[in-house]
């Protein structure tokens, strides 16, 4: 099938890319890996005059782990690079798991993590774990001044983010804090197939234990609202309490107050509510089992 006509633009610096994106506005779509963008163009969901490729910008494919600080992922770092990184597997195993849950090897060899969040699909696999890990998003704008904000502020709706289009704002990197002693995290995806399937729901948990007490925790859910959401009702029940299976059961039940799932071809809203309950328990327990020593 022939793609609709567009002009391909290869960016050479991030500043040039921001300027071009700001100038062209809706006439331009920005592409990193392109595994979502080319699909949207092919399906005529978007009909851009320009496809702006960021892959031609040097130095934006970093993947650096600094012990005690955390992981920096560039805008052009491929999902496959992250999932295969021995450091990511060792230091942030739940991030490696969530990245591996995206699509297939072929897609992960081309697609990027930053592209996965910028596509802002409600059921995407990487946002829940990034949210619970307390990741930070860094951007650049046409003014030459970027922003840095918690990833929780990023998602604004289906395919909508807080990036300022008029400023040509683009994500340059994502930073994930390292796990400290007594902290653990996990992501569990519920899908019919093991690969190449969108999540019915996906739940990520992060926990900080102080002996038997839950000193702090975060739970985030994908596929159960127009954006990935924090399950704050569940978190409130858990924080400051001594862990027990009964307490987790109560907290998992409370997630229904935080989500607004729809019924669609993959599952009914009722089923999603019940599965968020189940997968909250699984991911929280796995986070507890994988506390950093």
């Amino acid at each position: 099938m022939t793609l609709p006509k567009f002009e391909y633009k290869a960016a050479h610096t991030i500043q040039e890319a921001c300027n071009f994106a700001a100038e062209m506005g809706d006439k331009c779509v920005v592409m990193a890996g392109g595994t979502d963008v080319i699909l949207l163009v092919q399906g005529r969901v978007i009909m851009p005059e320009y496809v702006l490729d960021l892959k031609t910008i040097p130095g934006m494919d970093e993947l650096t782990f600094v012990p005690g600080e955390g992981l920096t992922i560039g805008a052009l770092t491929k999902l496959r690079t992250i999932e295969l990184s021995p450091e990511v597997k060792k230091e942030l195993p739940a991030v490696a798991d969530a990245v591996h849950d995206v699509a297939s090897t072929q897609i992960r060899c081309k697609g990027t993590l930053v592209g996965n969040i910028c596509n802002a699909s409600p059921s995407a696999d990487t946002p829940p774990i990034l949210i619970v890990m307390g990741a930070t998003v860094e951007t650049m704008r046409k003014t030459g001044v970027g922003r840095s904000f918690p990833i929780g502020d990023f998602f604004k709706g289906v395919k909508k983010t807080n990036l300022d289009k008029e400023e040509g704002e683009l994500v340059t990197r994502v930073k994930i804090p390292a796990l400290k002693t007594g902290e653990g995290s996990a992501y569990y995806k519920h899908a019919v197939r093991k690969a190449m399937d969108l999540a019915i729901v996906g739940v990520a948990s992060w926990v900080k234990m102080d002996g038997k007490k839950i000193a702090d925790c975060r739970i985030a859910v994908g596929g159960a609202a127009i954006t990935p959401v924090r399950a704050t009702s569940a978190e409130k029940l858990l924080i400051g309490q001594e862990y027990s299976d009964e307490l987790l059961e109560k907290a998992a039940e409370a997630t229904k107050n935080d989500i607004h799932p729809i019924s669609d071809v993959r599952a009914s809203a009722e089923y999603r509510i019940d599965m968020v309950r189940v997968f909250t328990k699984r991911s929280f327990k796995k986070a507890l089992e994988t506390l950093k020593a």
Partner: protein
Amino acid sequence: MKRVIHFNLNGDPMECFVADNKTMLDFLRTDLHLTGTKRGCEEGECGACTIMLDHQPVCSCLLLAVEADGHDITTIEGIMQNGKLHPVQREFIDKWALQCGFCTPGMIMSAVALLNTNPHPTEHEIRDAIAGNLCRCTGYTKIVEAIGAAAEVLRKEA
């Protein structure tokens, strides 16, 4: 709009004039007449169009031809070694790992990409590597066996 791109195709340097909106899949099949790469879903779901971009398996339906500028492209036509079938191709034949054959080139490209970086894959790793390649005829058992057997052949050759 059209532009000139330079890339390596199966080891040979190429200079081509391509339209911006042409996918690598279309370019290979209609311009270069390399029809070993198959047109399947054109949505990155089925893996029939799998090729290698800088030695990594990718869906050529989700790759613009212009994106190949300055990169290495390998297709199923480029994996024979010294005029002989690649061990993965040989084992697919010997182990009856195909029926209609439509998924086979993509399946083989995923398998070769795996074995290039992982000479000792477990069955789980083989299945994971071809999870993005759909076969509607044989089921996957024979395919997994063929890839495992090819890994063994390659280890002996090394």
